[in-house]
């Protein structure tokens, strides 16, 4: 699956929070269109790795190339790079002062200078895609968790990003709402979007992931297909982790 021209190339990335090594010499390449699921116990550095990709966390050393841009280079326009990177958070982070529709159109209108009508009609298409178009004129406070997360995914898609990053998108949801969010993500994966997903949902991993990455203590301990992870995990810590979450 690894080709010569990865869209994300992480080389020897390290990051410490005081004593804690959140990332310890991590290298990973992700190809265009690839779906990578990152798993690992909490505090393993998986969210830090994901957040480093769009520079919500800076790395102390190493190199990070995204879509041909060195994101650690201060001369690069990080805001322009971020426009190509959709991000979905565990806690949704919708803008509570804006309607669902305005949540979707704010960035395209202000950053891509798309006229309101055009932005709104595209936003409605995306809301239909995540099956929530009837809530377009409501406010985030009126939505359920699952609905909020679907809107958050649509908001990220509204910028037409090349890559989507998901940071534990279903961890804050009630169990009965997890399915509706995963369905949207599966649909997105099938359309060929490049996706990097931090999650514990192994069912999702099995269905869409090209590769699964297991992290612990800031290191990547094992990389493989979902089948490999289910059938013969090699590293003892991965075996233990798989036992715990399945």
């Amino acid at each position: 699956m690894i080709n010569d021209n990865p869209i994300i190339k992480i080389t020897n990335a390290s990051k410490s929070f005081g004593e804690l090594k959140a990332l310890d010499n991590v290298s990973l390449e992700i190809a265009q269109g690839e779906k990578v699921v990152i798993i690992g116990p909490s505090g393993s550095g998986k969210s830090t790795l994901l957040r480093a990709i769009n520079q919500l966390e800076t790395i102390d050393s190493g190199q990070l190339i995204v879509d041909g841009h060195n994101v650690c280079d201060l001369d690069e326009d990080i805001n322009a790079i971020r426009m190509e990177l959709g991000m979905v958070f565990q806690s949704f982070n919708l803008f509570p002062h804006k309607s669902v529709l305005d949540n979707l159109t704010l960035a395209p209108r202000k950053l891509r200078k798309i006229p309101r009508e055009e932005a709104e009609s595209y936003a409605m298409e995306l809301l239909a895609k995540v099956d929530i178009q009837e809530k377009a004129h409501q406010y985030p406070a009126q939505l359920s968790g699952g609905q909020k997360q679907r809107v958050a995914i649509a908001r990220a898609l509204a910028m037409n990003p090349k890559i989507m990053l998901f940071d534990e998108p279903t961890s804050a949801l009630d169990p009965e709402m997890i399915g509706e969010v995963l369905d949207v993500m599966v649909k997105l994966a099938k359309e060929g979007m490049t996706m990097v997903v931090v999650t514990h949902e192994m069912g999702f991993a099995k269905e869409v992931a090209d590769r699964v990455v297991f992290m612990d203590h800031g290191q990547i301990l094992e990389v493989g297909t979902p089948i490999h992870f289910f059938e013969n995990p090699e590293h003892p810590r991965l075996q233990k982790f798989m036992d715990q979450i399945l």
């Binding site: 769009n54 805001n79 971020r82 803008f95 509570p96 002062h97 960035a107 950053l111 908001r155």
Partner: protein, 267 residues
Amino acid sequence: MAEEKKKVRIDVGDGAAIPSKSDKGLFSAWLLSFFLAVGALLLLLFYPDPEVSDKYQEILVFLADGIVITFQVTLSSIAIAIVIGFFTGLGRLSKIWIINLIASTYVEVVRGIPLLVQLFYLYYAIGEFIKMPDMVAAIMAMSICYGAYMGEVFRAGIDSIDQGQTEAARSLGFNGAQTMMYVILPQAWRTILPPVGNEFIALLKDTSLVSILGVADLLRRGREYASTSFDYFQTYTLVAIIYLIITLILSKLVSKMEERLGQHDQR
């Protein structure tokens, strides 16, 4: 998440109490004060005995210029204070230590010196080196003083917005300033507005201090009239009633605005 934090209400509170519908006691106190003040004003101006009513009408005409000046000083000062306060608030939240230190020191110093002393200092002490018109000195002193208080209001208001909001905006590609303008301030505003309104009312009352520098505000005009006519009682009664009516109207406006801003929370 942010839901709980949003109910924060900052009460720096030396302005008039801002009435809200949920507070019945205060609401009726507002009504009572307002009708008493307006009633008293009308009674004095249209008193059956023309000798009395003519006197009050004459005083009111004399005071009119002062009311205009009082508003000029208040509006100019609050506008500048809001700008100073915004940057001071950002400075107080800054991770760059030198900026943080400058902003914090400014707030500490200004809050530790009485406004009247600041007015004297700027007009008389600094005035030894840079002579400025009394009006300019007055507005500068008021802005610098209230800018520090306003800085705390902005700091608390901006700080009350969940960090996730900034992360969401930044990851969409907004830069720091755009994030502040489109995402943080529109939300922080609802926390910031009530105390800013309070400060506005407090500032309006404090402008009476500038009369000491010779600025012909409402109180100064009153003093001028009283010192020539010796009608101290009539003059200062009218001055007090006018201040009261203005601050009552303003506090009502602030509470109306607060209600409107709070609307989308309840939906």
